[in-house]
Symmetry: D2
Subunit: 352 residues, 4 copies
């Protein structure tokens, strides 16, 4: 069973043109050279929640900054916590040392530490004789649809996601860590987008992937059009949930500069309608996999900032547009946003 | 000579209804009980820049958290630096002690320290025998229109702004610190707005004042409508400038909670089209003047977060709508955004 | 087999009187009313390292802020990262919300996430129907003595440490998480101390527990006497390792005030000879289990700061004094510091 | 009248050998190549305080990272706030951009902003056509001896300090910004020290200057010997005051690495007896004036950390040893610590 329907459109398929900058070849985080993405989607059972048995609506997503041994070839990185009501693993060391030495995994809140432990399995195997690793895991809470306490993501799923990572990869919606997530009251999950940034030193790509599990249906907006004023799900939810935003670039930035990059992702969230509500753990991870030591002047960063804001906004919109309806534990349901209605509203407001 | 034209409309006058929450009585930061605002506007001379002589297009704005001795009756506070390319004074002590003990002043970048020193004059006079004060000053750069190196704001102007502070006060645009500022390529300056937030403990007000000197004309949006796609100033500018955002509330929040409040203001900036470009020093000051020690649960903060995002977005829009064209030094000119054109665009996009 | 020798003296047994303030009844973190501590020590096998088999020289330590359901009765808290080369779990949420809702566990670096996952087991069992928990785990690296990749600490050990927590508890040295640790080139591990702080609002206790795995033998000092100038282990080590410092108090502090408390712990480390070397992940967790909402004025904090500095210095010294020699994997050995020699040096320098 | 007595000894003159690393040629911050220091000392009048008239016991100290136009040739930098009860100017921009573009000035608390404004005069003159500068000023409170509200440091003093900056410069004690300061209950002020750090990439210098106005007389220690247990000033003071610590190096560090450096300075303060009391604004500024783009591996930083801790401890000790008794406003007196007594105590404790 797969909920991931390739027929559902992305923002660009609806005619949206978000922001000023052009997107990359596939409008995905994997447009950043050498970045690959793997998803393992776990869907099993239905009906009443039986802790440890299911129903299972969860998964794991990994982002590999490059295809080589990441512990040996660390990437420059930064993190930013917009709203720290969340369990993300590995942030203090990135803040201190400015680098990531692990695949980046996204998953269900209560599976966070098992996934981190699985990354230790993976890193230990690849690096015998090394006794210290800093795994990076982000999470959102899929308890509404999933048997979250059951923690159904295991080490083998993490390995499979890593080994199966591909580029290009534009899987979105009900896939990997996104399987059980909710976006602005609709079914949410994984979304991605990218921007090409022309700098004096060359054209660089900024790619964003979001795990969207945040937002109030009344506030959803697409390219500024306030969808939530016209279209609401039948079953309104309380505002819970979170969002993970991963920003990748091949621009040769320092960790301090990546910190500046990371702080802009929340501005893309705001444009899509987010307000970082109390219960929303909103975490940003930004990395550069550039290998040359070219130097980007501070003054040139504005274009990259714009790329982050635009690609984050679009990734979030994609995560909602592309997600099919999912029925989870206890019959709890998140509906895929009705595409026709969205299209009509966008047209009536003159943006497509 | 006064550029401040009461005929220019605010967002609500154009029919805009930004966000979900109702605004306060005057839709201004002074809707927060006991908060008052004073502006001193300095406009003098024209023609070629002669350093130390003019032309002068600058001023100072003060926000008083309450009408009493602020050093004796400190208010709980927090600060947040979204983009630290700026000179704001007094932030480290607020971060450490969680309180403000000075009027909050906004002014021209290079006048920052003279204004801070003037606050020492004021605080020393009011509190003989006290030898330590932490003045709070925010700034934006008005060099495009003003003889900025001349530093024309003096202690007497600061005193006059304090003594003349009033409530309600809905002066906006080319007034006080906003006199020489630019917003999204148009004339910018001071803007304000407020929201009423219904919490279990009562209805509280969130008020925002922005000193808007940031933004790219192509990205300006109002209630989501992308004005910048249809309307650009004739003389495009490079992206420079900054924005100060001051958030006031009467909700009895801790300084940690106010820190959470402060981090949301940038989300309102994003909705108005901001991206916090490299050169934009984007600083947020948030305070609560509540006197009772009631306790707001974390879970209740979401409504206040929404209030901050909405009021910040609207304050920025007001700062642009209300600002008349100003001709400054060397004939440099910032045009007031043409209201008719804005109205038409909003109507065509179906938001008014 | 137990390495924990009650005959080895603490600092006070040697006649040391560190600092200005008196210590609590047992000079331990458990002097803070309602705080209890549990250790599970894992020692198994000897000889050549066989990954997954042993030798095992590790353990887990838990600190319970009070004896009740910690998720239901959260405690006010703060964290501080002096040197972020470490994997501690749960810090961002504490920074955001200012509270701890989990037992605090300390363990071996690579067991961090399994211990965190075990805390989920524990918290889930105690709180059915809750789907979000923020486990707190600190760690140091015991790879020199222990089969660290084997991750021998399991959920049952975590449960046993929680269920077996006691007060008073002055177990120190080779116990719990301290089993495989190194302190200033000597055998290190767990140490604890406390101070009584007389404030206008009453006498409050500050208790500190350190998991000491840091320091250069040449820099070790006790009450200022530079032991390392006179006494070095035969096998000098490279400077690796870390230190976890947990500060407890019953003073009714806000999370912001606890943040100030946390930043002082590193000053106690400095007095014991630490420099927070690159490889030393130095993390501080501070909490208050006060239940009344009394208010401590900022001005009164200085005495508490003094208490933290003094108790941290003494806890570290205790962690070294009390630790017996341990032979670990591959015959690797950390020697207990020779007490007679230490006594002589202290006497010769006139501090005892 | 000059209180600065070259006859008073430094720590090394007493035979103290603090730490493991050798000091530079003059054991001063000016051992870092290209760094120079200028002091202007203001001593005028005696007797009863008459605000605006005197007595004057204050001054200004400037540290120039190199002898060239600092705005044109910025230096890499970081800041750290150990205790934010202070008014330091310019920190947010250094945190954001990782560089300093101004002379670093130290002065009396209430003169902070006039000194910052004077730096604008200086920078504007040197850089016509530039309209944005980020002046850096640190401060301590000399109100006990000085007419602090009078703000007697003027722009001409700042210019004179800059123009008169020299290298080597080992002026210490009652000089420049140190004129009215108190250290551990004794007369304090300016102190300096340096360390040579041998790294794979070469030998680099770490130099520290402190403006010492902090500490409790009972806690003063020198090379671990607790002077305060044996020797107290006749007039004990309340614990007020602050300390500014400026760290310079020629090691080619990134701003993130300098941030790590900055966080260690407080450890040197702790060794000298500091606890960063509530009222002590403890701020650290660290910069590198390296011009080549060599790369220092993180692993090599430990030696530099050691250098910072040791040089900070020694600079603080020097600031107390070298300061003569000063009688200030209203006859308030701070006594120079009696050197003979200190010598005796050090000898009796076997460290010299």
């Amino acid at each position: 069973m797969s909920y991931h329907s390739s027929e559902r459109p992305r923002a660009t398929d609806l005619g949206l043109k978000i922001g000023l900058l052009p997107h990359g070849a596939h409008n995905a985080i994997t447009d950043v050279p050498r970045v690959s993405v793997g998803h393992v989607t776990l869907i099993d059972g239905e009906g009443i929640l039986e802790m440890g048995r299911g129903p299972v609506r969860t998964g794991v997503t990994v982002i590999l900054p490059h295809g080589r041994n990441i512990f040996q070839e660390k990437v420059t990185a930064a993190v930013y916590v917009l709203n720290g009501f969340g369990k993300s693993v590995g942030f203090p060391q990135v803040a201190e040392l400015g680098r990531i030495e692990s695949p980046i995994a996204l998953t269900s809140t209560l599976s966070t530490w098992r996934v981190a432990d699985a990354l230790i399995d993976f890193l230990s195997e690849e690096n015998p004789g090394v006794y210290s690793f800093n795994p990076i895991v982000g999470e959102c809470n899929d308890a509404y649809l999933n048997d979250i306490v059951g923690r159904h993501v295991t080490a083998k799923h993490v390995f499979r996601a890593i080994k199966g990572a591909t580029s290009p990869n534009i899987d979105e919606g009900v896939v990997g860590a996104g399987t059980g997530m909710t976006g602005f009251g609709w079914k949410g999950g994984i979304g991605t987008s990218s921007r090409l940034c022309e700098l004096p030193a060359g054209v660089f790509t900024v790619g964003v992937m979001t795990l969207t599990n945040t937002g109030d249906a009344r506030e959803l907006r697409m390219d500024g059009v306030q969808i939530g004023r016209r279209l609401l799900p039948s079953d309104m939810m309380e505002d819970r949930g979170s969002i993970m935003m991963v920003v990748a670039t091949d621009a040769p930035l320092s960790s301090r500069q990546l910190g500046r990059i990371a702080r802009r992702a929340g501005m893309g969230l705001a444009r899509a309608g987010g307000i970082a509500g109390h219960g929303s753990g909103d975490f940003i991870i930004a990395f550069s996999n550039a290998t040359e030591q070219a130097h980007i002047e501070e003054e040139e960063l504005t274009t990259l900032f714009r790329g982050v804001v635009e690609a984050t906004e679009e990734a979030i919109i994609n995560s909602v547009l592309r997600a099919e309806t999912v029925v989870g534990r206890d019959g709890n349901t998140r509906h895929g946003i009705p595409i026709d209605r969205v299209s009509d509203i966008l047209r009536e407001h003159g943006v497509v």
